[in-house]
């Protein structure tokens, strides 16, 4: 029994990371109807940036976030203004194919630079620290910290979207990009900010996951798919939906992994397909 509770807690906590991947996708889809196929590879890229920062400056990966998050935000802004903005229009093929091309470029670029070796970020004693809730139920400090950060990030994004000037601009551009320009909004800049924010969030999640799980240049697509599944499972109505989606995905994976490690990821995919079959609008909303 306690084993099951531990497993479910594990799943919930890792679900927070998936939710952060998802919220990054949901944000840019919401603002500019862009689905970035390279999302997962950018998540992995953030882990490699953290690897360089930790190795060259001798920092703990958690501290390296101070550098990695703004670096990825900047990369996001540049990518959007330099590349994705040129693809935005009525035709959905250009953004899709350009981001797919970018995905392949990042993957193979990382392969050239870092080889196909498995890596992990080492965070020191915090990795094994646990909090004891009862004799049988232990919760790792790091997973707990990750989950708390995920909740804060998602709550923060929700507040940013509905309570700040930039959130207002995001919604206005999303509603009607043509008219938004008449308010004095430079859509290209707004799109750039949305992508910067998206990548800043996934950089945080990408680094946190890289402390817990191995990564290599080819892991990007899996990260993308986890985020995507969390978005669809949760429904596109609010950022909190992605948290629920991420947690469900995490729990399903954790339970399947205790049955057979080979089933872990497959079970997550199947859960997603089940939701698609029986509740395509997601568990908590409508498909936009």
């Amino acid at each position: 029994m306690a084993d099951w509770i531990n497993t479910i807690i594990q799943g919930i906590l890792i679900g927070g990371l998936y939710a952060m991947f998802a919220v990054g996708l949901a944000l840019i889809f919401g603002v500019m109807k862009l689905v970035n196929i390279a999302h997962g590879d950018l998540i992995v890229l953030s882990a490699y940036v953290a690897l360089i920062v930790t190795q060259s400056l001798g920092l703990n990966p958690l501290v390296s976030l101070v550098f990695v998050v703004p670096i990825m935000g900047l990369i996001g802004y540049i990518l959007q203004r330099g590349l994705f903005n040129r693809t935005i229009g009525n035709d959905l093929l250009p953004p899709l194919l350009v981001s797919f091309g970018l995905s392949v470029i990042i993957q193979n670029g990382l392969l050239e630079l870092f080889s196909a070796d498995n890596r992990r970020l080492l965070a020191g004693p915090i990795e094994v620290a646990t909090i004891k809730f009862s004799d049988a139920i232990n919760v790792g400090v790091l997973p707990l910290l990750q989950f708390v950060l995920a909740v804060l990030v998602i709550g923060g994004l929700q507040a940013l979207m509905f309570r700040t000037a930039i959130g207002r601009s995001f919604r206005a551009v999303s509603d009607d990009p043509r008219i938004a320009q008449l308010m004095g909004l430079n859509n290209r800049h707004i799109f750039g900010l949305a992508m910067a924010l998206s990548l800043a969030v996934v950089a945080l999640a990408g680094v946190l996951l890289a402390i817990r799980a191995n990564f290599d240049p080819a892991t990007g697509p899996t990260r993308l798919i986890f985020g995507f599944e969390a978005v669809i499972i949760g429904g596109l109505s609010s950022f909190w939906g992605t948290l629920v989606g991420g947690v469900i995905l995490g729990v399903v994976q954790a339970i399947a992994a205790t049955i057979d490690p080979g089933l872990q990821i497959l079970a997550g995919h199947l859960a997603f397909l089940l939701v698609l079959a029986f509740r395509p609008q997601g568990l908590f909303g409508r498909v936009a």
């Binding site: 000037a165 207002r168 601009s169 919604r171 206005a172 999303s174 509603d175 009607d176 043509r178 008219i179 938004a180 320009q181 008449l182 308010m183 004095g184 909004l185 430079n186």
Partner: protein
């Protein structure tokens, strides 16, 4: 220099792909003046306003504001220069509240008399419904939000596209009464209207468009009903 036009449109052309919508248009607007543009559907009235607002590509010298070339600039740069458009069909942001719609109109923070409080003074019903979603309002109230949203940028030139579209006559009269008060405050305006009567009541100067060209213009007073009708229908 006092008489120099505030807004000058010279030899303006506009295209949708291969289709030419405007052919060498000339138009002038002086400070404090109200110009009406009338014409049948498809004459190019909205295209003219959209071109001035920067939504259509134009040559730099085609549009001048206070002597400065603004043709071809991006819409957000043109708002900053002091031209605001109330678009056809109002086009409020559905996911923003009434107040958010107004506030975002003032995004550029151009200095001037129009602040949120003053908009609410002008349209008290909006103050009561400030936290409602903008699209939950009646058509007339939505038009008020659209006008208020444009005013929040403290424009020198206000462009109004078909304010009466889809509104009951009594609501249209109310909207135009408000517009008169706004104009009395000193803002210049170009008003596109299919309703010639409404246009003649408010504008000092009238331009009549047909198939992308200006076919008649002059002081509203000097034009006869027959000459306008002839120009309107191209007979």
């Amino acid at each position: 220099m006092l008489d120099a036009p505030l807004l000058k449109v010279r030899q303006l052309e506009a295209f949708y792909g291969d289709f030419q919508a405007l052919y060498g248009l000339d138009l002038e607007l002086k400070t404090g003046q109200v110009v009406a543009i009338v014409g049948a559907n498809g004459a190019g009235k909205s295209t003219l306003l959209n071109s001035i607002a920067g939504l259509m590509a134009t040559r730099p010298e085609a549009i001048e504001l206070a002597g400065e070339r603004i043709g071809g600039k991006a819409p957000y740069q043109i708002v900053a220069q002091g031209i605001a458009l109330v678009p056809e069909g109002r086009r409020l942001f559905p996911s923003l509240s009434v107040e958010e719609n107004l506030v975002i109109g003032g995004h550029m923070k151009r200095p001037g008399p129009w602040k949120l409080a003053r908009i609410y003074e002008l349209f008290p019903t909006l103050a009561e419904r400030r936290h409602h979603p903008a699209t939950a309002l009646s058509g007339g109230q939505q038009q008020m939000v659209a006008i208020g949203r444009a005013l929040m940028s403290n424009p020198r030139v206000l462009l109004c596209d078909e304010l009466s579209l889809g509104l009951a006559p009594i609501v249209v009269r109310d909207i135009y009464a408000h517009l008169r008060a706004i104009i009395a405050d000193g803002v210049a305006a170009i008003i596109v209207e299919q309703d010639i009567q409404q246009a003649l009541k408010i504008a000092g100067h009238l331009y009549c468009m047909l198939e992308g060209r200006i076919v008649l213009h002059g002081a509203a007073r000097s034009l006869t009903r027959e000459s306008i009708a002839a120009a309107y229908f191209g007979v």
